[in-house]
């Protein structure tokens, strides 16, 4: 199927293109110069590249011309960026993709890559686990108000974009939404690969103490499982289908123990108290803003670690045959890759 992929140079995007290229005629939309392709390995043979930007409606329309489907995986995944940028790219980008898909003769199928974050923290769900039926309400950002407040611009804009996707489905557009869990694995070390960046910090003993409550459960999912799940959605999902593409729900404490067992590197026993972490995060954030760098810790990242992000992929398994590998297997593969690429020496 002639398919456009956005976000193709990202952490998930690179693996996604590799997964889809053998079975589909791919076209990728890539920002020109400074946009990201930057020589970090060529796209597979025969992949068409179009210069453009998801935030630029005309370039999206142009790239979509003649495509039967689009996998929209582009998003701003950053620890620190202006709020308006998140809106422009994460919400505006989806609107542009939806409009361009509608403009195609017969309408192009849209596979929208959302995020577990669009479903909200799971501690309130049955058994502390949520699925596709969740629809969080939130408002504000950072301060004030009653009810739940969005943790950061990423959560807010992914939730807003998810509403837009659901509205498009309700209006009859051929849209499928997938909600990957917390993605980890080999690939581009972008800010989207938060987990492996964190694991590297542990392996290099750069962390004096652990972040987060050991009992909090996260839905860690291996990047190639998500890529395969998106392929299944592209090939098998009915219009309007929405699927969590998760992995094993694992307590943070168990995750750290597994890193220690597989790597042989002892992880810190001490835990950084949330209050202190928030303070350090605030200082780092202010410092990074001044210097234009990326902070390792921010108050909203601390907030992310205070929640459960556990989800069930049962629907994707039942309807599309989605499977995921155990965390142990995925982590072992990731550690092997870190060694092979010289990022870590055992």
């Amino acid at each position: 199927m002639k398919t456009l992929v956005t976000g193709a140079t990202g952490f998930l995007g690179r693996r996604l293109v590799a997964e889809l290229a053998p079975r589909h005629a791919l076209r990728v939309l890539v920002r020109p110069r400074g946009g990201g392709a930057g020589g970090r390995g060529a796209f597979p043979e025969g992949v068409e590249v179009m210069a453009g930007d998801v935030a630029d409606a005309a370039s999206v329309r142009h790239a979509m011309a003649g495509c039967e489907a689009v996998v929209h995986a582009a998003a701003l995944v950053k620890i620190l960026a202006p709020a308006a940028e998140f809106d422009r790219i994460n919400v505006g980008g989806l609107e542009n993709v939806l409009a361009a898909a509608r403009a195609e003769a017969g309408g192009a199928k849209v596979i929208y890559v959302s995020s577990f974050m669009a479903l909200g923290p799971s501690e309130g769900g049955p058994g502390g686990v949520l699925d596709e039926s969740a629809a969080p309400a939130g408002f504000g950002e950072g301060t004030g108000g009653g009810g739940r407040i969005w943790i950061n611009s990423y959560e807010r804009t992914k939730a807003l974009a998810d509403r837009k996707a659901r509205r498009a489905i309700a209006a009859g557009q051929d849209v499928v939404v997938v909600y990957p869990g917390v993605i980890y694995g080999p690939g581009e070390m972008t800010e989207g690969n938060l987990v492996v960046r964190h694991v590297l910090d542990l392996l290099h003993r750069r962390l004096p103490a652990l972040l987060g409550t050991p009992g909090r459960r996260w839905c860690h999912v291996f990047v190639d499982d998500v890529a395969r799940g998106i392929g299944l959605a592209l090939e098998h999902a009915p219009p309007g289908g929405r699927y969590v593409l998760g992995g094993e729900n694992t307590a943070l404490g168990d995750f750290y123990r597994l890193v220690e067992e597989l790597s042989g590197v002892p992880v810190p026993r001490r835990r950084l108290p949330d209050g202190l972490a928030t303070t350090i995060g605030a200082v780092q954030k202010a410092w990074a803003r001044l210097r234009g760098t990326t902070p390792a810790l921010t108050p909203d990242l601390v907030e992310v670690y205070r929640h459960d992000w556990a989800y069930s992929s049962a629907r994707a398994a039942a309807e599309m045959g989605y499977t995921f590998r155990p965390l142990r297997e995925g982590l072992a593969a990731t550690l092997a890759w870190l060694q092979e690429t010289g990022q870590w020496r055992r």
Binding site: R27, R31, F43, G46, G52, A58, S59, H62
Partner: protein, 324 residues
């Protein structure tokens, strides 16, 4: 007609792509590492030095013709990066020719291959004996022979000039310096190299028209000069550029002080090239038989350079939007 351009993000490639898209043609291109800013062009990632990747790109694009513009193009630099120039310009061209075997191909060459030609034999015709004097000219002469051997069309380009050209080249560099002077960012002194060299300047958009014609109608195995037939010294060109800048500045700054752009011209030994061919003017009779003519003069090219350098218009390709 569907054309595949190598070097589509470059000076000539981006103008040619724009011209073709404006005519409603399909345009594909190859790129390496950096995605070029060429909206509307379908791109394939392939290194010229990777024969298999080039073959795959040509196969995937399946164009009616290929125009080979990619390459290293700075005469001065070819002395210091000689190996790279030979690899990219000669071996790279061979890879492209092999990848495009069986298709129409136009290969961009350069008037530099003629070398020193007596004034009595100018403007130079295509039959002129080649006398390449620089590594760059040698790579182009070699690439030409490989191309002709495979039945490609060769375009011997005289000095293309216009917006989008790197400021490593003389006229865009002058325009950039003048613009900085006009903005009050530097003292009113222009630093230049040897200005006695006389060159045959062709507006890049006329060059793009020529490539389009050659891709459509060029005779396989034939060489075509891409030239205006007139030569101007760099000193003359600079005088005209200063005049254009002064007129523009006067028109723009009736209110503001500053008093225009006129600048003192100083010879900067660092900018004087090691080998300079005193005169290069080409006879493009053969190309004109295909219906081509140089429609834009040097002044138009200089005015466009000034417009770009002074920021009166966005850099080409920059804020451009795709024809939807």
């Amino acid at each position: 007609m569907h054309l595949l351009l190598t070097g589509v993000g470059g000076f000539v490639g981006s103008r040619l792509a724009r011209l073709l898209l404006a005519h409603g043609e399909r345009v594909s291109g190859t790129f390496f590492e950096e995605v070029p800013r060429v909206p509307g062009v379908t791109l394939y990632e392939a290194d010229l030095l990777d024969a298999a990747a080039m073959a795959a790109a040509v196969r995937a694009a399946a164009p009616d013709a290929v125009v080979h513009l990619a390459g290293l193009s700075h005469v001065g630099e070819s002395w210091t990066r000689m190996a790279e120039y030979f690899r990219v310009n000669v071996l790279g061209t061979e890879n492209l020719l092999a990848a495009a075997a069986g298709r129409r191909v136009v290969v961009a060459s350069s008037a530099e291959v003629y070398g020193v030609v007596p004034e009595s034999e100018q403007p130079i015709g295509e039959q002129q004996r080649l006398d390449p004097r620089t590594p760059y000219a040698l790579t182009k002469a070699a690439a030409e022979r490989l191309a002709l051997g495979r039945g490609a069309v060769v375009a011997r380009c005289f000095n293309l000039v216009g917006p989008g050209q790197s400021t490593r080249f003389a006229l865009p560099a002058f325009a950039a310096q003048l613009a900085a002077i006009a903005r009050g960012e530097r003292e009113a002194v222009l630093r230049v190299g040897n200005l006695s060299a006389r060159r045959d300047f062709v507006h890049v958009d006329d060059g793009a028209e020529a490539y389009r014609l050659l891709a459509e109608r060029g005779r396989p195995g034939e060489i075509y000069n891409l030239a205006s037939g007139r030569a101007f010294s760099l000193a003359e060109a600079l005088d005209r550029l200063i005049a254009i800048a002064a007129i523009a500045a006067t028109a723009a700054s009736a209110a503001s002080a500053g008093g225009g752009v006129p600048a003192r011209v100083e010879i900067d030994p660092e900018r004087v090239r090691s080998v300079d061919l005193p005169l290069l003017a080409g006879d493009a009779t053969r190309l004109r038989t295909l219906g081509w003519e140089a429609r834009r003069g040097l002044d138009e090219a200089l005015a466009d350079l000034w417009t770009e350098a002074s920021g009166a218009a966005a850099a080409p390709g920059d804020a451009e939007r795709v024809p939807a």
